[in-house]
């Protein structure tokens, strides 16, 4: 088993993967037009990236309504700040950072509260009625199980194991210590493994 090291980094995914057009390489002109205030060009950028941004927001936020709010905020901020994008990184990477930063801001207090690890905790104990996800015992799949992880563990698991960021990058983006990032990741994996093993 090789672990998850090197898994699906966003840049690599955009270089190799056909799933999403790479605006940086293929659509620099569209970015330029959007920077000049062309809303249609911005819509093209939106259409080409919203699936990935929504997937990220859904996993980070933990419920569909908050994820949709986050997606809208991310694109409004992207529009406001498009003038600051200078092409030093890929547009998709820039947009992703924006999404992670915004999600981290929104979830900050929740993340802080969730960093207290409860001995003997399990995902089934963490499924609250208010959470937008399957009910206890309904056979959660991994996607649903991620959504009910504690916020801090969820954030790190999604960024590290799903998106491929390393702990140093996560620490920079979210403001948590590298050690905290690692411990939250291990906590998330433990909860998810126990759940999947049932």
């Amino acid at each position: 088993m090789n672990g998850i090291e090197g898994r699906d980094r966003l840049d690599a995914a955009h270089t190799a993967g056909p799933a999403v057009p790479n605006p940086h390489d293929a659509d620099a002109a569209i970015i330029g037009r959007a920077q000049q205030g062309d809303v249609e060009a911005f819509e093209t950028l939106y259409r080409g990236s919203v699936g990935r941004i929504h997937a990220l927001c859904l996993r980070l936020a933990g419920d569909a309504t908050r994820a949709e709010d986050l997606v809208q905020e991310v694109y409004l901020r992207a529009w406001e700040r498009l003038g600051t994008f200078q092409g030093r990184s890929q547009f998709s990477t820039w947009l992703y950072r924006l999404a992670v930063n915004r999600a981290t801001d929104v979830l900050r207090s929740e993340i802080r509260r969730s960093q207290v690890v409860v001995l003997g905790e399990s995902l089934a104990d963490l499924v609250a009625p208010a959470v937008d996800g399957p009910a206890r015992g309904a056979g959660l799949d991994l996607e649903a199980a991620i959504r009910v992880l504690p916020a801090g563990a969820r954030l790190v698991f999604v960024l590290h194991d799903v998106e491929g960021y390393d702990h140093e990058e996560i620490a920079t983006m979210t403001g948590v210590a590298v050690g905290t990032s690692k411990s939250q990741l291990y906590r998330a994996r433990k909860l998810l493994r126990e759940h999947l093993s049932r």
């Binding site: 998850i4 699906d8 939106y46 259409r47 919203v50 809208q72 194991d161």
Partner: protein, 220 residues
Amino acid sequence: MNHEAFSAKLEAYVDGELPPVEEREFEAHARDCAACVSALAAADQLVERTRALRREIQPSRDLWPEVRAGLGGARPRVVLSSVPRRRGRGWRRRVRIGTAAAAAAAAAAYLATRGPHEGSATSPRGDAFALVLSGLEQECMGAGKSLQASLRVESSAPAQTAAWTAGVASGVSILDLSIDETRAALAAQPGDPELQRLLAERYRQKLALLQTALLRVEHT
């Protein structure tokens, strides 16, 4: 290697961070210990299922109309050293060092460059307040541009007109500062009705000032 050591090294193994010697010990233990084989299988299963997660998940509905509504007529901000900050303080500095004609031009430029979305207090969901605010922003921007255009025509305006224009721009810049501060407060307390009322009121005052100035310029 015992169970405790195995458990302690499981995450490092999953992440490929164990030195080769420790990795071999780890795998050797996993082959001989049923409990650890099970733990490793669970770790492997999680890795595989994580890899299989969908890269894209489309929203359940098209969010573009709401995003589009939130954009209003604003253009992205371009950060260039040649573009002055759109703040009253910067405008006043420019006026102080200029001639009367330059002051009029600077005031006109200030009036026209201040666009909507100077903060992020509006709801991205396009609620009623956001729509009202967006409309007021658009009207203010339109009035500012019209005033700038009129002042450009009157570029040979006497010093008296320039001073008057500067007064209008100064008033607008003060209102803009108040708008920025109210927006910041609203960002901290989203949905606060008093702050929303205050913000809308400031925009209406700004619009009234711009429209009055426009009327005066056009009838001078």
